[in-house]
Amino acid sequence: MNPKPLLDIEDIHVEVEGKEIVRGITLKIFPGETHAIMGRNGSGKSSLSNALMGHPSYQITHGKASLNGQNLLDLSADKRSRAGLFLAFQYPMAIPGVTVANFLRAAIKARRGPEADMSDFRKLFKKEMDALAIDHSFATRYLNDGFSGGEKKRVEILQMAMLQPTMALLDETDSGLDIDALKTVSEGINRFRSDDTGVLMVTHYQRLLNYVKPQHVHVMINGRLVKSGGPELALKLEERGYDWVEEELSRSTGA
C-alpha cells in the first residue's frame, strides 16, 4: 500500500469574477483510485477542476492542493501539466491553423525537452488514434476546429493517452457522446487507469460510471462535497435525483 495521496486537496475555495463558487473542498485521491464528483449544473464541479489546472478565470482564494507531494498552487498551468496533472476539458478550445499532430508533438516535446528523440511519435500517435477509433485524417486537421462534440471528447482522451499524466481530471467527458463514442472513450479512460494513476471524473450523469467504475462517489452541492460513498451512491442519484441529498443536508444542518 502506498499511504501517500496522489492528489491531495484541502479546504479549497474558488472564486470566479469575485463570486465564491467552490466553498471548501477536501479530497484525497490515492494511486490506483477513481473518484467521481456528481452534482447539478452550477454546483461548482467544473470550477474545481478548472481551478486545479490553473485556469486564469478561476482564483483559488484559500486552501492547499498538491500532486505527489508537490504544491500545485505555486505552479503555472504548464508546470502543473508537466508535473503530471491533466484536464480533459468540457469545452475544448479550437486552435485554427495548428494541426492535431503538431500540437501533440509540441506538448510531448515540452515534457521531454527540446533535444529529445521524437522518433517514436508517429507510431505512438497512430496506435492511440486507432485505439480511440479516430480517423488518421484528424492528424492534419486543425485542433478542435469544426470538430463535433464527440470528436472533441475523443481527441481530449487521445491527448491524455499520449501525454501519460499521473492524475486525470475529466470534466463532463461524457457530454455530447453517443453510445458508441461513450464506449470508445470509456475504454480509453480504463486503459489509462493503473495502480499508479488517479482519475477524478466530474459529471452529472451516471451513464459514464457504468463503463468507468469509480471506487468513490461524491455529491457536490453549492460548492461543497456533502456526501461521499461507493458506486451505489451514483446509482441512487441516477434513480432518485439530488433532492433527497438536499433534504438530508437541510435536516442535518437544521437539527
Binding site: S76, R80, P92, I95, P96, N102
Partner: protein, 422 residues
C-alpha cells in the same frame, strides 16, 4: 515640394527630390524603352504627392519615400544586377521555349513579347512612385512561358541588396501563355552585412496570365531593418485563368505594398493570402485590389496582420466590380492580431460595385490572443511563450500553406524569430 536641409547624396535627384539625371539608365536600351523612361520621369517630376485624403495614402506619408530616395545612395547600375535567380532548376527542368532572362537583355532580344507587356499594368498613370520605378528600374527580370508549357518546380528570384545603403528599383515581368503553368517565388532580402544602413527599394511586378493559365506568385519581403520599401504588383488574368498569390511582409522600417489582380476574362479566378508581421517600430501598409472586369469571375483575399511592440499596420482593400462583369463573386477578410498594447492596426475595406448581379462580402477583425486558447495549450504542458508562438504560427498558417513547401520552414523560422524576446 518641401526643401530639405540635408544635401542630397544621390546624383539621380536634385534638391527637390526630382529625378535630374537619367544618364545611367538612358545609356542602354532601345528608343521605345528610353521614351517610356522619359515619360515616366516627367510624370514623376511633375505630379504632386498623392493626397493623404485618399484611403490609399491615409496612413503613410509619401514624403518619406521622396526623402529617402533622394538622399540614400544608389550603387546598382544597369547591367550590374543585385537580383539573381536562385533555383535548383537544371537546364533539363526548363522546357523549350521558356525564357528566363534579365529584363534589360529581354528588351533587346525579345522585343516582340516585352514591348506589348512592359508598362501595361504599372505605369505613370498608376501613381507617382510607380512612375519613379518606370523611369529608374535597373535590375529587372523577365519570364516567358509559352502556351501549353508547364514548369514543374517553382522558380526562385532573390533580390539581395548586396551593397548596404544602396537604393534599388527591381522590376519583374512575367508572361504566361494559354494553358501554361508557372510558380514563382519573388524574394526581397536585405543586406546581411550592414543591416542598419538605410536604403530605398521601389519594386514593380507585372504578371500576365493568358487563357486557362495557372500562375502561383509568392512575394517574400524580408528587407533589413531600416529600409523604406515601396512595391506595386499587378496581375491580369485572361479567360479561365487561375492565379494564387501569397505574400509575406516581414522586414523594412516603412513598407508600402500594393497587390492587385485584374480579372479580365470570363471565368478567371484569383485567390490571395497575405501575412504581414510587424515588430519594433515597423510601419507596414498594404493595399489590395480585386478588379472584376469580366463575368463569372471569382476573387478571394484573406489578409492577416500580426503586430507586436510599437509596430503599426494599415490594410486597405478595394473590391471593384465593373458594370459589364456579371455574376461575380468577391470576398475579402482582414484579420489583425495584436500581441501587446501599443501596437496598432488600421483597416479600411472599400467596395465599388457597379452592377447588382454579384456576391460579395468583406470583413475585418482586430484583437489579441484569446487567453482561453493560450490556457488550453499551457494546460498541455506547453510554456507560455511557446504557446504564443504556436498560436501565431497557426494564425499565419492560412498564408504559409500556399507557399511552396521548400520555403515554408524558413518563413516559419522567420516568424518564430520575430516572436523572440517577447
Amino acid at each position: 515640394m518641401a526643401k530639405k536641409d540635408a544635401k542630397p547624396m544621390n546624383d539621380k535627384f536634385d534638391n527637390n527630390g526630382l529625378i535630374s539625371d537619367l544618364s545611367n539608365v538612358l545609356k542602354q536600351g532601345p528608343e521605345w524603352l528610353l521614351e517610356k523612361r522619359r515619360v515616366s520621369r516627367d510624370s514623376f517630376n511633375n505630379s504632386p504627392l498623392p493626397p493623404r485624403g485618399l484611403h490609399l495614402w491615409r496612413y503613410t506619408d509619401p514624403q518619406k519615400f521622396i526623402n529617402v530616395s533622394s538622399t540614400a545612395t544608389d550603387s546598382a547600375t544597369v547591367g550590374k544586377q543585385p537580383s539573381q535567380i536562385n533555383s535548383d532548376l537544371s537546364e533539363s527542368d526548363i522546357p523549350k521555349g521558356v525564357i528566363i532572362s534579365s529584363l534589360s537583355d529581354a528588351v533587346e532580344n525579345h522585343r516582340d513579347i516585352v514591348e506589348p507587356h512592359l508598362y501595361q499594368l504599372i505605369n505613370s498613370d498608376t501613381g507617382k512612385f510607380e512612375a519613379q520605378n518606370g523611369a529608374l528600374w535597373d535590375n529587372g527580370l523577365f519570364i516567358f512561358v509559352p502556351s501549353g508549357v508547364t514548369i514543374n518546380k517553382p522558380l526562385h528570384f532573390q533580390h539581395v541588396s548586396s551593397n548596404a545603403g544602396s537604393n534599388n528599383y527591381p522590376r519583374l515581368l512575367i508572361v504566361v501563355g494559354d494553358n501554361a503553368e508557372l510558380s514563382v517565388i519573388d524574394e526581397h532580402l536585405g543586406a546581411e552585412n550592414n543591416s542598419d544602413a538605410p536604403y530605398y527599394s521601389n519594386g514593380a511586378v507585372e504578371i500576365f496570365g493568358y487563357e486557362n493559365s495557372s500562375v502561383r506568385y509568392a512575394n517574400l519581403q524580408e528587407h533589413s531593418a531600416k529600409v523604406h520599401t515601396f512595391f506595386t504588383h499587378r496581375a491580369r488574368l485572361g479567360r479561365g485563368a487561375n492565379m494564387l498569390t501569397a505574400t509575406m511582409s516581414l522586414g523594412g522600417l516603412l513598407s508600402k505594398q500594393n497587390y492587385g489582380v485584374i480579372l479580365d476574362g470570363d471565368g478567371a479566378e484569383s485567390n490571395m493570402y497575405g501575412l504581414a508581421f510587424g515588430s519594433g517600430h515597423q510601419h507596414l501598409d498594404c493595399h489590395t485590389l480585386q478588379h472584376h472586369r469580366s463575368s463569372q469571375t471569382n476573387s478571394n483575399i484573406d489578409f492577416k496582420v500580426v503586430l507586436r511592440d510599437r509596430a503599426e499596420s494599415a490594410y486597405t482593400g478595394l473590391i471593384r466590380i465593373e458594370k459589364e462583369a456579371r455574376n461575380c463573386e468577391a470576398y475579402q477578410i482582414n484579420r489583425n492580431l495584436l500581441l501587446n498594447k501599443g501596437a496598432r492596426a488600421e483597416t479600411i475595406p472599400e467596395l465599388e460595385i457597379l452592377n447588382e448581379d454579384v456576391r460579395c462580402s468583406h470583413g475585418a477583425t482586430t484583437g489579441q490572443i484569446d487567453p482561453m486558447e493560450r490556457f488550453y495549450l499551457e494546460a498541455r504542458g506547453i510554456d507560455p511563450s511557446e504557446a504564443v508562438r504556436i498560436i501565431v504560427a497557426g494564425f499565419a498558417e492560412s498564408t504559409l500553406r500556399h507557399i511552396p513547401a521548400e520555403f515554408r520552414q524558413g518563413l516559419q523560422d522567420a516568424v518564430a524569430q520575430k516572436l523572440k524576446a517577447m
